[in-house]
Symmetry: C2
Subunit: 430 residues, 2 copies
Amino acid sequence: MRTTIANVYKHVNETVTIGAWLHNKRSSGKIAFLQLRDGSGFIQAVVAKAAVSEEVFEQSKNITQETSLYVTGKVVEDSRSPLGFELQVSDVEVIQEALDYPITPKEHGTEFLMDHRHLWLRSKKQHAIMKVRNEIIRSTYEFFNEEGFVKVDPPILTGASAEGTTELFHTKYFDEDAYLSQSGQLYLEAAAMALGRVFSFGPTFRAEKSKTRRHLIEFWMIEPEMAFMDHDESLQLQEEYVAYVVQSVLKNCKIELETLERDTTQLEKIKAPFPRITYTDAINYLNEQGYDDIKWGDDFGAPHETAIAEAYDKPVFITHFPVEIKSFYMKPDPDNPDVALCADLIAPEGYGEIIGGSERIDDYELMAKRYNEHELDGPAYEWYLQLRQYGSVPHSGFGLGLERTVAWITGIEHIRETIPFPRLLNRLYP
Amino acid sequence: MRTTIANVYKHVNETVTIGAWLHNKRSSGKIAFLQLRDGSGFIQAVVAKAAVSEEVFEQSKNITQETSLYVTGKVVEDSRSPLGFELQVSDVEVIQEALDYPITPKEHGTEFLMDHRHLWLRSKKQHAIMKVRNEIIRSTYEFFNEEGFVKVDPPILTGASAEGTTELFHTKYFDEDAYLSQSGQLYLEAAAMALGRVFSFGPTFRAEKSKTRRHLIEFWMIEPEMAFMDHDESLQLQEEYVAYVVQSVLKNCKIELETLERDTTQLEKIKAPFPRITYTDAINYLNEQGYDDIKWGDDFGAPHETAIAEAYDKPVFITHFPVEIKSFYMKPDPDNPDVALCADLIAPEGYGEIIGGSERIDDYELMAKRYNEHELDGPAYEWYLQLRQYGSVPHSGFGLGLERTVAWITGIEHIRETIPFPRLLNRLYP
Ligand SMILES: [Mg+2]
Ligand SMILES: [Mg+2]
């Protein structure tokens, strides 16, 4: 019976065959312990000299790291292993012997590991991160499908950008100039007017020469956009969504969080509602805490975000930023038009901003005024303005950065490990 | 009580308020029928002169197309409508009056509609197509999650391509040259060696100057890749996947398929297993049918694919293509190395190829030979070759084109209507 490591629990005391790779091994005189991995999980296979042919036992002691195998054995319970089972081996068949696998259990430098990313992904920690990333994606779809959202895929290639082209990748689109999208939001607003509630999940690109542990050149965003939803309702949706994802990971990635040595008590606290603080109060708080490098009208840097986050044990919404430092399409607060009906969601534990969102301007005259101020002329922008002409409605939306969310939930230091093949300044390989 | 059209069934005989747009209307002396849409669905709202104020009745008779509204009324069953309910209106509040909405119920030319794609999406047919697209995506995630696959996002920006750069979009990646991905497959093979079973769902790009009803410049692909899976097992997975998606759409998109006037009897037949015909038999069949423009060694054109598909009422796998006309990484058939362990899946009713897949070469020596033949030298290709060095295993994968699948299942003529904002030759707007 062929099965996978994740499914051995269905075959207790049965003999199964698993296609796998040798992750690690140790042996003493009459017994060899093979740590196997098959992508679905990790399991210990015990080869007792008495239980196999002499040839299989000798071979087992000498299997090299990452050699591919078919291993046959009986599934038995083992309360000491995270999986809860081990394999009592009756046969081992080598598929292909791996010689001199470059990533050994010893320490390697970051550049070396990044150059070998195609192999590094096989390590226990990277495997766990990718499984958590997958669970975040899976639960995102589940959440938005259950809330009646329609997945909409906005275009990646666009003819113009409302927010400048300096940080955009350029390409020739036959005879025209095109840019890689930084956000699908404008398109998602059009789609929300057709489909009510929509969300995208796709790659975005920022040609930014920054080299911090929070930045990727190519990263994935989840961008929901909701017709007939105001700012407050959007914040509620955001906190429910983030809490849903965190609780899904806690429930479905127990082994992976253990592998990552993640402090899950921090994650268990992540339930709606989340605290809210206005931008103005946040500035005052920072000044009181001794940060004299920031004043009303400035945007937060990473240290400021961390200082604010430290005051809470949940993600915190910073709301009502000055209109001047936010995007042109954000709706001014009717009670105080100097600030916008917007919020950034700052993750706990120093992971920074994971969501930016706002209610959108729905008034045609005000949007036309913004067009003038930002010199958004020409036909490339006409269609977006038209959304305020033909049945404009209150609407809100937000964007969640997948990789920053993975970094936070897995508790890892650097965002480069949160995506299978990171694109960084000076890194386009593998 | 605020609700959406999709949720009125939960509020029968209750009074609800719906945020919506006027899709269409007709009125006689004492009654106005408002066709409302809110993205979640379409509903008829009946405004009886006797049931509302004189002001609301007069206003209702004069509401213009695509005006945004809050409509309050009682939900009553109505067996004549596809939804099964209508609204007996007690109040109507106009949010924003739409004047001279450009897309009227009369006929418009394709270029006009494409120029107004941001508004055209609101039409009943386009709305239905997007909902079916969403259900295909939703059920795809459901299927692969249930089968133990991990979603992996391969990079879009890549430094080199194993299959030439003439049909790739180019960009400068700081000081390097980069290209937009046509397929994540090579990366997915690396990921499958780490995670066992993986799938991607993302945009791909082809800078091809073709202008057929089957081609988009930017399109979305689902690419599963499976370690320890041979060609035959992959075909079984493919037919189960496609059948699952079709049956999910039939179950969850009844109203939309009715709107699209789709012949659902054709879709009900789509259950595993699917027929298989070898490339060689397909060539013979075509020659027998009088196609003298194709011989062994040629690739199929659209008319050939259609002719083959017409012999079946399910999708058909054409298997074992000549190695020469397929990709360098496809595994030759051990029984006949002139042909590959590969298959294209051809949709019924003339919709053409929706899947291409194969078992991959897992032998290092053979892959090294292919590298020589295809002049894949330099470090950019080294990592992919290494996968055959460090624990190579039998593995297979395939790619399904989302938009062609949407076209087939919705039964629409042209692929440009299957994606929210199509990118075509000479079309980068809106
Ligand atoms: Mg910020
Ligand atoms: Mg083909």
